[in-house]
Symmetry: C2
Subunit: 104 residues, 2 copies
């Protein structure tokens, strides 16, 4: 498994909404798909990233564990570090491009 | 248009093989698809990246212009710089993962 933009966004959305279903809706994916991704992510790490909470007045929900928050922070740090590292190459590339490149 | 791994590989293959058709074959894409991508890349830059050569004993071919080689080198530099920049985050992430994570 690789963590990419989709899984990171799902992780973040679960943390924000407190619910796998609500996170899936925000991402435009089915509950089933969101649940499968959450289960796969949990299976890839020594400690689970997402914990589900059963019952309660809200009918249960989900939250990020400490490891889940750490993994999300590491992913966002990787994005920042990569973006910073390529900034000067990107500027050089942009300078060679036309102002309004065609789509695709 | 964004230059990604596919377009960079096509550019490199055109430089290596001296032919859009042969580059497309190496990438497992149709001649038509390779040709459209080459045309799109050329349209995105102030100077063309790929120059086609008509006729001759070999029946013509294609080569990378100076700008084409520069764009390819910048893309490869971006890959290297990004990989180096995320190395320490990636190590931390790997340390949290199980040894043999499931597929997907």
């Amino acid at each position: 498994m690789r963590i990419g933009p989709g899984k990171a966004a799902l992780l973040e959305a679960i943390g924000d909404t407190g619910s796998i279903a609500a996170a899936g809706r925000r991402m435009g994916m089915s509950y089933r798909r969101a649940w499968v991704l959450a289960k796969t992510m949990n299976a890839c790490f020594k400690e689970p990233l997402i914990e589900t909470v059963k019952g309660g007045s809200g009918g249960g929900g989900a939250l990020l564990t400490g490891t889940g928050r750490e993994v999300l922070a590491l992913y966002r740090a990787m994005e920042d570090h990569a973006a910073t590292a390529v900034m000067s190459d990107m500027d050089k590339l942009r300078a060679l491009m036309v102002d309004e490149p065609p789509e695709d």
